[in-house]
């Protein structure tokens, strides 16, 4: 070997070693200079310190700060900081409770009376009044771009007021919303009359309380939809009723909110709240480790790594949603899915507990019904848990007429082989793994199963339009707000390509008793919207689903909220992260 050759090999070795060192550097080792120092938790009696900045990591930029136009969680966080709601969900139970307004409901369940808190004020000194709530409703009615019009269709006079005429139920024939009456003697009091009893209404009627002194000029009798939709204050709000005021939005990088000194519940302890936009969940994890972020949510894969970082605190709580395998019960190709026994066999035939360990590192709860355990609508009576039982699954398949052929594949009496394609959105590593594991386990039952990742964008269209090429689909639901399952499970929402009906009922499963339970939980004929009465209906609803298994209900993930230990009073829960944001403080 010549000297030159030796030199070259040494250089290559050095380069390779450098890369190995870089790869093997396990994050979470001793913090070097510049790292946030580990602090002990403050005691409950400790006086909150003023000042500092909360920096939350988000993997997407906010789209708007106008609640009427918003339909993504990042934007909802932003406008939630500056516009308070009249009613809020309890952070842990999800039940409605007064926030900026108190409310009563008439005995017939049709009239809601509200009174805005006397202290509630805008940051420009004006009081928050009933008209501000009405301005939000008028914004929804006039906007061409909102996706919320249907939410208010049961408010008396809304359909006659909303525009443009001919879209949905809007007729644009009235100059006011007749169902909303503001007390002439007290501008903080108003009532809303509904056309029918609607149990989710109290959360829907939170609506959007936005400043009339700002948005009123875009909602006059002669205003056009684009006046409101393109208002500069939609991206640059000038007044606030929430704990923070808008300061600056550096698009794609960060949105900065400063303390609202006149916040009606008391000014926040921290000076600023910053929503920092990062590329993905890996960047959030890195930002939390380096201290660049104060808090954010991480994925289960990063949990073990994060647990080695001594400067952060990890809070786990159940996510308001679940990941499932939806069976197309009307599939012309996977005909077995029409049979309840087959779907039950598919529930017994997959070891979901093992899947949860393998796919999300144990950070999830197995689901056997639509509602998740933290929701009040979750059934109290025990449901069939579908514990992994391969023998039972095989027996159910046999009972349904599927027998193993010489090739090891199940076939029915007509000789049709049981093949099954499980689709999911590509790029979602968790779901792709679940699809693969499910396919492998179903093969052991004699089903010719395979996983097929495809673009989420295309999958959504196929699902909502009822594309019959889909046999089984892994996707997830997010269940915020009211537990009303109408949009997903009522038979009127089963898509029908022939009639060009779209909807989220892509399993095509329907059951008259289930429809009735959903209807009674949403619009009860006796007007009883009490939690107990609705829960009874949802017991029936979940029992039917549990028995019929149109979904393998999969699992509900844990949310893994990570915060720097210096952040005090941080108490996120399933229904709210920011319920007490004005009480957060930074321990210096």
């Amino acid at each position: 070997m010549t000297a030159k050759q030796r030199t070259g090999r040494v250089l290559i070795a050095v380069f390779a070693a450098t890369m190995l060192v870089a790869t093997a550097c396990t994050p979470g080792g001793p913090a070097a200079s510049g790292a946030p120092s580990a602090t002990v938790a403050a005691s409950a009696s400790e006086k909150p310190q003023q000042g500092g900045r909360v920096i939350e990591g988000w993997a997407t930029d906010l789209a708007t700060i106008q609640p009427v136009l918003s339909n993504d969680t990042t934007s909802a966080r932003a406008w939630g900081l500056i516009y308070d709601g009249i009613v809020a969900q309890d952070a842990k139970s999800g039940e409605a409770k007064p926030k900026m307004a108190t409310y009563t409901i008439s005995s017939d369940g049709l009239t809601y009376s509200f009174e805005m808190n006397a202290k509630a004020n805008w940051s420009d000194g004006k009081p928050v009044i009933a008209q501000d709530w009405l301005t939000g409703l008028q914004g929804v009615a006039k906007s061409a771009k909102t996706v919320r019009k249907s939410t208010f269709q049961d408010v008396q006079g809304f359909n006659e007021y909303c525009a443009p005429a001919g879209t949905g139920k809007c007729t644009a024939t009235a100059s006011s919303i007749t169902g909303v009456t503001i007390d002439s003697a007290n501008p903080k009091k108003w009532s809303v009359k509904m056309t029918k009893v609607s149990c989710p209404a109290i959360l829907d009627l939170i609506g959007y309380t936005i400043p009339t002194q700002v948005f009123g000029k875009y909602l006059t009798a002669t205003s056009k939809a684009e006046d409101f939709d393109n208002a500069p204050e939609n991206t640059n709000p000038t007044v606030s009723s929430g704990p923070f005021k808008f300061k600056e939005w550096r698009k794609g990088d960060q949105a900065i909110f400063s303390r609202n000194e006149t916040y009606w519940q008391g000014a926040p302890n921290v000076d600023e709240y910053v929503m920092k936009v990062v590329a993905n969940t890996a960047a959030i994890t890195n930002g939390l480790k380096t201290g660049e972020l104060t808090f954010g949510s991480i994925i289960a894969r990063d949990l073990a790594d994060m647990q080695t970082v001594d400067t952060v605190k990890i809070t786990k709580y159940q996510n308001l949603g679940y990941t499932f395998i939806g069976w197309n019960t009307a599939s012309p190709t996977a005909v077995g899915l029409a049979d309840k026994r087959v779907r039950q066999a598919l529930a017994y035939g997959i070891d979901m507990d093992a899947v949860i360990k393998a796919v999300v590192f144990g950070e999830a709860t197995k689901q056997v019904a639509h509602h998740v355990p933290v929701q009040w609508a979750y059934p109290s009576t025990p449901l069939e848990p579908y514990k992994y039982d391969k023998a039972k699954a095989q027996q159910l398949l046999k009972d349904a007429g599927w027998t193993l052929g010489s090739d090891g594949i199940l076939a029915n009496a007509a000789g049709k082989k049981f093949s099954l394609t499980i689709s999911t959105n590509s790029g979602n590593q968790e779901r792709e793994t679940l699809a693969q594991v499910a396919a492998d386990q179903y093969k052991q039952l004699g089903i010719d199963a395979k996983a097929r990742p495809e673009a989420f964008q295309g999958l959504v269209t196929k699902l909502t339009t009822g594309d019959q090429t889909l046999e089984a689909t892994i996707i997830g639901w997010s269940l915020g707000g009211d537990p009303d399952p109408y949009s997903i499970w009522h038979s009127s929402n089963i898509p029908d390509p022939a009639k060009k009906i779209e909807g989220f009922g892509f399993t095509a499963f329907k059951d008259p008793a289930m429809d009735k339970a959903i209807e009674q939980g949403r619009n009860p004929t006796d007007g009883n919207c009490s939690t107990a009465a609705r829960k009874a209906n949802y017991e029936t609803f979940n029992k039917i689903l549990n028995e019929n298994q149109p979904y393998n209900f999969g699992y509900s993930n844990n949310t893994l909220a990570v915060s720097q230990k210096s952040l005090q009073n941080f108490a996120p829960a399933s229904f709210s992260t920011l319920a007490n944001v004005h009480e957060w403080w930074i321990k210096k």
């Binding site: 250089l11 380069f15 794609g252 600023e272 380096t290 989420f456 964008q457």
Partner: protein, 319 residues
């Protein structure tokens, strides 16, 4: 020369129209529907709501009509309203341009400041350990995927050593004109983005310098008794740099267009990251605006390169 430039400008028009058609068709051929994507999972959303939104954004018109509408508006720099942001797509894009330009210009500077000296050193020290090291670096520069290298550098310099920030353009709370803080942020992404260029330039310079050093005029310069430094830097390097200068023609546009991966890894709020996220959301106006923007940049830079060729090489007919 004027006719040459005019002719080139006229050629650019069908090129851009062709790009606009391809962009328009590809964006719409991709599976999925933007309105269904926006409304998926929304409680109580109805078919009428979806139809209304399709009408608002002109998506209910036949495709050829949609294209003509878009083309006519585009001539007036109106690329339509973003489905996601409810704002003018081109204005939104422009807010991302400065960040990408910062990254691209810094990467270009690094390519020249590192690539050119490395190429010259490799040529002058041909066969030495330094030459070997530069050649290994050149191979690595081409071979290492940007996303992997970026992540490794973040783990090493940001997470483990805490020398540099892991993401973004500026530390939260710092003044926007805090140049040292900006430099700390741009160092890693600019280096990753420049790596292929450094490898390219060092290779080109090495070859060109070796070639020039063997030519008669260099021997003449030596014979005249000029110092080695003068021969190399005044006579040889000036000639060796010609291919580099011409290669610069499309490099800036290529960097702007090619920064997508680096911007994504380093959470850099530039055009690439913005377009990537818009493509996922099927936000047609933004994807189309971004594609046309980068295309126009490329066409202009190639035009400038052709003009530069015409200026330096009399064999190219300009009349």
């Amino acid at each position: 020369m004027r006719n040459f430039i005019l002719r080139r400008l006229v050629y650019a028009i069908p090129t851009l129209i062709g790009i606009s058609i391809i962009t328009f068709v590809i964006v719409r051929m991709a599976p999925g529907d933007p309105i269904r994507l926006v409304t998926f999972g929304q409680r109580d959303i109805t078919g009428e709501d979806i139809a209304r939104l399709r009408h608002v954004y002109g998506l209910d018109k036949p495709l050829p009509l949609q294209y003509v509408d878009w083309l006519l508006a585009m001539v007036q720099l109106n690329f339509g309203q973003s489905f996601i942001y409810h704002q003018d797509a081109f204005q939104l894009l422009l807010t991302r341009v400065p960040a990408t330009l910062q990254l691209a210009v810094t990467a270009l500077a690094l390519q020249l400041l590192i690539g050119v000296p490395l190429g010259v050193i490799a040529a002058l020290k041909r066969g030495s350990w330094a030459d070997g090291a530069i050649r290994v670096f050149g191979v690595a520069g081409h071979a290492l995927p940007a996303f992997w290298l970026g992540l490794m550098l973040i783990i090493l310099f940001a997470v483990t050593l805490r020398w540099l920030p892991s993401q973004g353009v500026l530390t939260v709370g710092k003044d926007v004109w805090d140049i040292p803080d900006r430099l700390r942020h741009i160092l890693l992404p600019a280096f990753v983005l420049s790596l292929t260029g450094i490898a390219n330039y060092s290779r080109i310079l090495r070859t060109e310098t070796l070639d020039v050093l063997g030519q008669d005029f260099v021997r003449t310069a030596h014979a005249k008794g000029l110092s080695e430094r003068t021969v190399v830097f005044v006579h040889a390097l000036r000639n060796a740099l010609i291919p580099v200068v011409t290669a610069l023609g499309g490099i800036l546009a290529a960097l702007v267009g090619g920064a997508l991966v680096v911007e994504q890894v380093f959470s850099w709020p530039g055009v690439g990251q913005f377009t990537f996220q818009a493509a996922i959301a099927k936000d047609y106006p933004i994807v189309q605006a971004a594609t046309m923007f980068v295309s126009v940049l490329l066409v202009i830079s190639y035009l400038l390169r052709d003009i530069a060729y015409a200026v330096v090489d009399p064999r190219i007919k300009t009349g």
